[in-house]
Symmetry: C2
Subunit: 375 residues, 2 copies
């Protein structure tokens, strides 16, 4: 991966160019739709259900009309949209060896297919499914402590010893452009499905595509890439974050109208892909002068767990907790739901979401139990 | 659903006609492919892995070349191909009320969309996910004992009291034709994907479509429908069954060259959708004079559990144990694998399988534990 200054500019056209580059290496994952999910998303939350939440005591919830179009990036290679980043060397694969942070599997796979050794540093608390899969793609693994300084120390030592080049998991133009290609495909695929759906349900406004896309936000790679992919289309882009232990750093930065991202985040949210603070390059797209992301919303661990159960039981796809955070926002966050009700009106909104899925099955019973607890 | 004598004849053309009828009511579910799965299916089982199996002591296993094309009927409405049957009234929806056996959710959904009350008899041991979903579609539920005579007694009582018409879960031409439509779509979709795949991997024979389809076999509705959908295409059709407690009634009937199906089957295999014996109409297609199914193979509970874990962890789709029985045959049954090696040779076979998925998440830890036991 090249020096950031030599990469393509951060625009929708560059996301399209990145798409042409990576197409031979990735799956065009399906977009699914479920009437059962639409009904569930469009129903009113009762006063009892809202007890213990920030909307307690305000009566029952609103009744937005929501149709959801779900891009199954859990069926992507390595089970996640992250496969799209490391295959996007818009400035060329410039060096022969690489170190790595967290997007371990994607990097290991892309390196293997480019005939390059991969060295991957993973914290000892990493999801065992991800560790096993990364090893399966032939990467050399290094275990580190889970805190940022410990990881950095191990990373520096590996880079020093092997001469590898560090490939950051989100704070790099190529990664952002590559991940934005998922948003591009979602727009195209959803437009077709929405037109079909509209033809079957006469009346109402002409529906030709998505009104909004909501993505999870950890480091902000997928979010900022998606925002680029939507620039100039009229599609609103939103972010979902876990609220647990301050994982909602983007929500807090937006509410406080900060000039830069909050960099100190220490959280053990079950949405383990979203524990990182927003990176500087993603921030420059999400906020900065461009403000390509309209707003961000947070959800509780319980809401994430409930959304996870619904997806596994009713949508029949395996997803990880991080992936269902945006869906949990749509289903349970009354602030977002009010916005949809107000702007979407009777016709409602067509909302796109992107799923990913490297779930540890052994952790599943614990993850589901959280949803059964009282709010 | 009409008198069987008034239904369309049991041919490939009738499956195509049924497809036109049900298209507006069903999803065209995606077909997925995974290099990781192909690699796993094409590897040799070691001598140690074969210990405790029928192939123990014969050295390591064979090395077939297999590419798998998976029809995700778990993403179908109600989570299963069973949705395709009750929407197929080739002789017309003749009565206004219906009783039911086991394909509860599909019937409840089809009845609701046709404005007809549904009465559903379910054994008390039924999968709670299926019970909840059936109730969610507005069916009136009746709990019965789990043995066939107890279910029949409750069924007779409901039919007597309500005047409902009994809709059998598989032993009816419309159900068979409807379920065959999944095979039809799989053939079309796989042919496109295989041509694409072949273009990327030069050399070898021209690959234009599936060599074989393997389906699970309980009552035989999906199997016989799929066999009809393949008639005259040159695609070989196979069945997979669990071996536990004699659930492999079709395998046994074929090996003993019987003239009719084995009707007395009492098994509590984890593949709970495959506990029933093969019905008479399915048998007439599978064997009878037509012999549209080439052969059947059985797998152990442990093999089913191991296949289930692989699918959940690596393919990222939620499936039920019954759904992975054919995949377990491809991965672990050396008799089937020998056949693929012999007939497929170096080029190998493109094999289609159909997934369905109404998994009870609460049962999952137990289901996965079985795969960790010694064979």
């Amino acid at each position: 991966m090249a020096d950031p200054s030599k990469c393509l500019p951060l625009t929708r056209a560059s996301v399209q160019a990145a798409h042409e580059l990576i197409k031979p290496h990735i799956h065009r994952t399906p977009v699914i739709h479920s009437r059962t999910l639409d009904e569930f998303a469009s129903r009113q939350q009762t006063e009892a259900e809202l007890q213990g939440t920030p909307w307690e005591g305000q009566g029952p919830g609103v009744r937005p009309t929501v149709r959801l179009w779900i891009k199954c990036e859990n069926l992507q290679r390595i089970g996640a949209f992250k496969a799209r980043g490391p295959f996007t060397p818009s400035g060329g694969w410039s060096r022969t060896r690489r170190g790595s942070g967290n997007h371990a599997q994607a990097l290991a796979l892309a390196a293997r297919e480019n005939g390059i050794p991969a060295h991957v540093v993973m914290p000892s608390v990493s999801n065992p499914t991800k560790v096993a899969a990364t090893a399966g793609y032939g990467a050399v693994l290094y275990e580190s402590g889970s805190a940022a300084p410990e990881r950095q120390k191990m990373l520096d030592s590996v880079v020093g010893r092997t001469g590898a080049t560090f490939v950051p998991p989100y704070d790099h133009p190529d990664i952002i452009l590559g991940q934005g290609t998922a948003g591009l495909e979602l727009q195209e695929q959803a437009a077709e499905l929405i037109a079909e759906h509209a033809a079957k349900t006469p009346g109402g406004k002409a529906r030709t595509g998505l009104d909004a896309i909501i993505t999870p936000c950890g480091g902000g790679g997928l979010l900022s890439g998606t925002a680029l992919s939507c620039e100039g289309t009229g599609i609103s882009v939103f972010a979902g974050e876990p609220s647990h232990q301050g994982a909602d750093d983007l929500v807090r930065a937006i509410r406080a109208n900060l000039d830069g991202p909050i960099s100190d985040v220490r959280t053990l949210t079950i949405a383990d892909g979203l524990r990182t603070p927003v990176g500087l390059i993603p921030w420059s797209i999400i906020r900065g002068d461009r403000r390509l992301v309209r707003d961000a919303f947070a959800v509780s661990e319980r809401d994430i767990s409930r959304a996870l159960r619904f997806v596994l039981e009713r949508l029949k796809v395996v997803v990880e907790p991080s992936a269902v955070v945006p869906l949990a926002v749509v289903l349970f966050n009354e602030d977002f739901r009010k916005l949809v009700e107000e702007e979407g009106g009777e016709d409602g909104w067509d909302v796109g979401v992107i799923f990913t899925g490297n779930l540890s099955l052994d952790a599943l019973p614990e993850l589901l139990k959280i949803g059964d607890e009282k709010a």
